[in-house]
Amino acid sequence: MEDLKKFLTGNVLLFESDSLTPDTEKVLQQIRREKTGKPVIFISSGTSSIIAGAEKTWNAVSSYINDNEPDAELVKVGCNGPSNFEPVVSIQLPGKNKLYFRNITEEKVEPLLNGVFHSDINKDDLIGQSGSRGFELWQGIPFIEELDFFARQKRVVLNNCGCYDPESIEEYIARGGYRVYVKVIRNYTYEEVCDIIERSGLRGRSGGGYLTGLKWKQALNTVASSRFLVCNAKESDPGAFTDRTILESDPHRLVEGIAIGAYAIGASTAFVFFRQGSDYARNRLQKAIDVARDYGLLGHNIFSSGYNLDIIIRKEPGAFVCGEETALISTLEGKRGMPQLKPPYPTTSGLFGKPTVINNVETLMNVPLIMQNGPEWFRSFGTENSPGTKVFAIAGKGRMSGVIEVEMGITFRSILEDIADGIKEGKEFKAIQLGGASGSFITAETLDMNVDYEIMKEKGIGMGSGGFVIIDENTCMVDLVRYYMEFMHNESCGKCIPCREGTGRMLEILESVIRKPVSEDAGTTLERFKGVMQLETIASVMRDTSLCGLGQSAPNPFMSALKNFREEFEEHIFDRKCRANICRGLRTFSIDVEKCTGCTACATKCPVNAIYGTRLQPFFIVEEKCIGCGICFDICKFSAINVK
């Protein structure tokens, strides 16, 4: 290992010329497993794979190898995108293209491996093949790059994900990693790096879309004794998992991105602010940082350049608001994570009063690529205003789900129909929820919009952090908005009254809209109507008067749903009906006299004794007493209960 380290440092990282010697290339090919005489089995390992059972698959494969194929090598790789295919197992036989298989749970391992090693491949679980030049093709098997899911993507940030062992720095270096970082700290000035990033037009991927190079320059031009770079890996929107997947699959590129970013602003300490619960990703990143330090890529006087850098991981202690820049700084300083008034912006006075740049994971992932290939290369993707690509985490009711990367300028329809392959079970499309709990909805009318910061801003839709939740007709928008409002209410830090009280009031009103009108007198009805009429006012006051982005954007899901699905809200309020049949409080239950056997199961379980009848005779429900809990519906064995 020590020899390899010395070799890689001397012949790759510190090698003066851009093209390496043929001898070095040979070694690197071996590290990349392109020239190997033994079969290699790759198993995806990330949180979503583990939830789907990848650890059990790993054990099954390793015991199979021990028994049958002692030559074979077993490698853990990151996720390469489609979560619904997890656990993904890919197998590379010597000299042949890699084959990808999906949903390989424990029990499928033996038949699969038996098949592959005896040239009898089970086509049911096959995704496709992929490989590089000089490899033998498999006849009649599609290339994964040609599948709809991958063909419409532009994988730049994610190009390493799922291809290499994220815990191996050797493999990352063999794939060209860290070379540009060493080049940057040895040859470039701070301003040059900032210039290149500014010329590339890279915009912050966390939602605001501020020019990254400009932000760095602001921090660099502020006179101070020290500066800080903070990588915001907080990502705590419900339903967003892009950053986590990136960190699990390609932690070294993030370390490189942070290191270049920190160099560009002259920071000697960088923090990574991690979300609570992503322990798996955090351990991977910690390992990556430790091994990078061991290679001399971090630490004191890095490769005799005179530059010092250390990266420190901090765990977020559990507050959604900490994703906001100033609140994040307060948390890092050991205070309550409450937002502060801006200006001064963090770039002039941030952490401990020093200039601080806060960048999101995806932004920093782009940095090594821009430095390596130049700003013109980066500008060749995407649109004029928004160059580059965007990573989304598709979840919800699409046929496909997982982490994808598309070129800016693609339409949402293309993502929905080509990449996500439409809606599960042939249901009707209703909306896309973009950007988590403070995002907006994209409906059938806005589906042809392009993914572009400026175009979306015009329509009042924020890009968000990468959450892309597909919603079908079976989802009740009022209930969904109530869910987001509940989340925001729980997470409001309590500093400003409009947000603290506003989210609470809005939640109360939304709950009254979906509650069963039992024993409702004129007074409570009036209160509800008054409340409903005030919803929009509360929302606009919150938007105008809250201090931070959380409060200002808390009413977004509501405003956007009301604009696009007004009739659904009106149905709930006036007709007291939920078209998706989700709001339990608005359902009315009745007993089918034909089917009821009079078993009394429902009557004994009814919490409000609303079901009457005689044993072995059909029962009936007193509608005025019913609270709509649905227990009778769940308990009836004869499906004699009807719901309307």
């Binding site: 789900s401 959450g467 939740v469």
Partner: protein
């Protein structure tokens, strides 16, 4: 499993407020919760009044002040799990255990939290029990699962 707090304190420099949160996190990771004694010790070490530490720690929902249960249940309530029916599972857990999120039962067996997004968006609703994941959870599976877990703990 709980080591002495003094050993943890030794790793830090005294009097630095920015170390407060990592310090509390480390103590909690080690002991499972923040006891009154430990908070007083931390206060003396960092030079902050105990009330201020409580003020800080209660702001964040990670910190707990009573010992955690032997079985830690984490329920995912992210958007995707919500769309797939996590609310019904949450109601069932509440019904079966009588616990609200963030609470620990009196018998010290179960503690229960709601988290947003564990990453199993395609396998939702997801529940994690002491770090082990259960995908596609349905409300009717909850009583049996809890019974099984209780049985394991009580006979251990």
């Amino acid at each position: 499993m709980s080591t002495d707090v003094d050993l943890i304190l030794k790793k830090y420099k005294p009097g630095k407020r920015e170390d407060m949160i990592p310090l509390l996190q480390e103590i909690q990771d080690d002991n499972g919760y923040l006891s009154e004694d430990n908070i007083i010790k931390v206060g003396a070490f960092v030079g902050m009044s105990t009330t201020k530490i409580y003020g800080l720690a209660t702001f964040y929902n990670q910190f707990r002040f009573i010992p955690a249960g032997k079985v830690q249940i984490k329920m995912c309530h992210g958007t995707s799990c919500f769309l797939n029916g996590s609310q019904a599972v949450i109601n069932k857990i509440k019904e079966e255990t009588g616990l609200n999120p963030g609470q620990t039962g009196r018998d010290g067996i179960f503690s229960y939290d709601i988290v947003t997004c564990m990453g199993g968006c395609n396998n939702g609703p997801v529940i994690s029990v002491n770090g082990e994941y259960y995908p596609y959870v349905k409300p009717e599976q909850i009583p049996d699962l809890l019974k099984k877990l209780r049985f394991i703990i009580e006979n251990d």
